[in-house]
């Protein structure tokens, strides 16, 4: 136990400042109320779905949990079931063998929900494109709010995409007009 505590103290705090949201990553106009986003943003539950990736994007999603990016420190955590999730973080391309599973996962996620498409393949099909075996980009199968390109996107880019998804909501005044 002493060795563990000593190592924790020697390691210190590694966490770095998170990036700012970037509106350029938005695919669909934000349709959630600012108020809802504020709640989601302070305790966001993400369900990751690998819909057919090369496993490269998954490596960077794992890295979000390391001490440098410390995504949980921002109140964002990964959950084991879509039923517990506010957001789906989906890597692609969507293989045809995963098409039904992805749709079912989307349906199982309670409203209001957000979808972030991850990586070049998630954004536009990437090198795999569309074929007898691949549906291509995520938005060919389920609605997507934010798309984060990259092969794979860095943890900072992913974090930026996730933070963008929970900002810039439709203002209440707009509705009352």
């Amino acid at each position: 136990m002493y060795q563990i505590i000593k190592q924790i103290l020697n390691t210190g705090i590694k966490t770095e400042a998170p990036p700012q949201p970037d509106e350029a990553l938005r695919v669909e106009a934000q349709n959630l109320q600012e108020e809802i986003l504020r709640h989601l943003g302070s305790a966001l539950a993400i369900r990751h779905v690998d819909a057919g990736s090369c496993n490269g994007c998954e490596l960077e999603i794992h890295a979000l949990n390391n001490a440098y990016y410390n995504i949980e420190g921002l109140g964002i955590h990964f959950v084991a079931s879509p039923r517990h999730a506010d957001m789906l973080l989906v890597t692609g391309p969507v293989s045809r063998h995963m098409e039904i599973a992805l749709k079912r996962t989307y349906d199982a996620t309670p409203d209001p929900k957000l979808v972030v498409a991850v990586g070049d393949c998630g954004c536009d099909g990437g090198i795999f494109g569309e074929s007898y075996a691949s549906c291509g980009k995520i938005s060919n199968v389920i609605p997507v709010d934010i798309a984060v390109p990259g092969c794979p996107p860095t943890p900072i880019a992913l974090l930026q995409g996730i933070l963008t998804a929970v900002t810039g909501g439709v203002k209440k005044e707009k509705d009352s007009k």
Partner: protein, 515 residues
């Protein structure tokens, strides 16, 4: 023919690795496979090809390993009756490869009693074989829900737990069917293929240059190993020899890939036994390596850095000094963490005797790569058939015999430290030479093989060339083909909650086998 005669009877393929290729008839095919199996050799890969354009029906190819090197056999099959003698009785791991050859090309293993599909779910009908040349890869069929015949276990109190394809963690999709009594697993059956995205068909639309990028994305966590194997295959058919500097840099990249993957696994293995401290610590070290990769080579996972003819990035003296500095810090951290893991009663209690694969079972089932070395299977290409620069490095192979999670943890620790030793040796004497040698044209209808010891195990790329440097057929082979079926045995008798731990200790690729 006696097996030991193959180096004199068959031509050796040009290139870095000891590989011989021969075309044989069905009887000789079976005879040589039997001799390899009897002599303790292994099956590395089995794949088929459509040779109708060459007026030659179809062909079935296997790669076998003996103490002398790799023996690759081609068995021509008729267009009317494309069947070949099964070898799954000799090499159990051939079962899924044979079923894949049936799905993808309609080649049938005669005598096989498992005729179920493997890679095909319900996205194309069973009359369609996507790797046949007369199939247009852009054809789309309506997707239906898949039905698959799992083996059912019956008896008092037996019930099933279906898991996946979407799993609880950040991992790749696949389906696991557990048959259990109470908490104990009686049987696990895997159903993979969910990530099938038509990689092999896609290669056939590319030329040798374009294929390099796709090869590096068969399994993103092993991008260097795949890219190097692909480069070896291209260099074999084009008669290219990269410079000593390029080869040295490739080894630096490959060992960096091994280090970051092993560090990540060591962290998750701690996490899976409720030692979250281990995850936090190892993932700091892993991130340090990824940042070093990004800083020195411009990509955190080193994608597209190994290219046919050489490498795409150089390493200067300043870069070497950065590696030495980061490694000093890394080695210090790893040694502290190893002591903590070794002394942690809770962790060791979960690691020891869990998910055991005895050396006998490992040999029988053909367990390969990292988990193989934890179960007494002393195979490591870098030590056995070392190509440059490994031939001058005297790689120390990690081998253990306990075959449990603890042994797979130990192999990772030893291999990380060994990879650091190798990189230091290489950068201390980085040879001169051009980064990328010009790659010439490839003859039509040539076969080139690339064979590299990635962090999971041996990666094979089998390349058949077409006209004008086009790819006629390409089969990328991941060691996970061999190891997935062994995982079904490793879990028997263990409790369900230990499955994530056992699975992580193997850390097999889904995309690498789903293709």
């Amino acid at each position: 023919m006696r097996l030991d005669e193959f180096p004199t009877k068959f031509p050796k393929l040009p290139g870095a690795m000891p590989i011989w290729h021969g075309t044989v008839d069905a009887e000789e095919f079976r005879n040589l496979c039997e001799q390899v199996a009897r002599g303790g050799g292994k099956l590395v890969a089995l794949w088929g090809s459509d040779e109708l354009a060459h007026d030659a029906g179809y062909a079935l190819h296997v790669s076998l390993v003996t103490a002398l090197g790799m023996l690759c056999l081609t068995l021509p099959l008729s267009a009317e009756r494309p069947s070949y003698p099964r070898i799954s009785d000799l090499f159990p791991c051939a079962n899924r490869m044979q079923r894949t050859a049936a799905d993808m090309l309609g080649l049938h293993a005669s005598g096989s009693n498992d005729r179920r599909k493997w890679l095909r779910h319900k996205s194309w009908p069973n009359t369609v074989h996507p790797l046949r040349k007369n199939f247009d890869g852009s054809t789309v069929f309506p997707t239906e829900t898949d039905g698959y015949q799992f083996v059912t276990v019956t008896g008092d109190g037996v019930h099933e737990i279906p898991v996946g394809p979407v799993h609880a963690g950040t991992i790749e999709p696949g389906h696991f069917r557990f048959s259990i009594i109470g908490e104990r697993v009686l049987r696990l059956e895997e159903r993979l293929g969910y990530k099938h995205k038509g990689i092999e068909k896609l290669f056939e639309r590319m030329n040798l240059e374009q294929g390099a990028k796709l090869a590096g994305r068969v399994s993103g966590d092993s991008t260097v190993a795949y890219a190097w194997a692909y480069a070896q295959a291209v260099e074999s058919v084009t008669g290219t020899t990269p410079s000593p500097r390029a080869l040295a840099l490739r080894a630096v990249l490959l060992e960096l890939e091994r280090i970051h993957n092993h560090l990540g696994d060591l962290g998750y293995l701690g996490n899976d036994v409720a030692l979250a401290f281990g995850f936090a610590q190892f993932w700091i070290l892993k991130e340090d390596v990824l940042r070093l990769n990004g800083e020195l080579f411009g990509h955190r996972y080193l994608m597209d850095k190994v290219v046919p003819g050489g490498v795409a990035s150089d390493l200067d003296d300043k870069g070497c000094e950065r590696i030495r500095l980061v490694f000093r810090h890394l080695e210090h951290g790893i040694k502290i963490l190893k002591d903590i893991y070794d002394e942690h009663a809770g962790a060791q209690d979960r690691f020891l005797t869990t998910g055991k694969v005895s050396p006998d079972l490992a040999a029988q089932l053909g367990l390969t790569g990292l988990p193989g070395r934890a179960s007494g299977q002393a195979w490591d290409l870098r030590a056995q058939f070392p190509c440059a620069p490994y031939d001058s490095l005297d790689v120390r192979m990690a081998t253990h015999r306990n075959g449990d999670v603890a042994a797979r943890v130990t192999v990772r620790f030893e291999e990380v430290l060994e990879s650091m030793r190798l990189i230091r040796l290489i950068i201390d004497q980085l040879p001169a030479g051009e980064l990328r040698t010009t790659v010439g044209d490839a003859p039509e209808n040539a076969l080139g093989l690339g064979w590299v010891e990635g962090w999971r195990g041996e990666i094979l790329i089998a390349l058949h060339t077409g006209k004008n440097n086009a790819i006629h057929r390409l089969h990328p082979h991941d060691p996970s083909w061999q190891n997935w079926p062994v995982l079904e045995h490793a879990i028997i008798g263990n409790i369900v909650p230990d499955f994530p731990l056992i699975n992580k200790s193997f850390n097999l690729s889904y995309t690498g086998v789903d293709l």
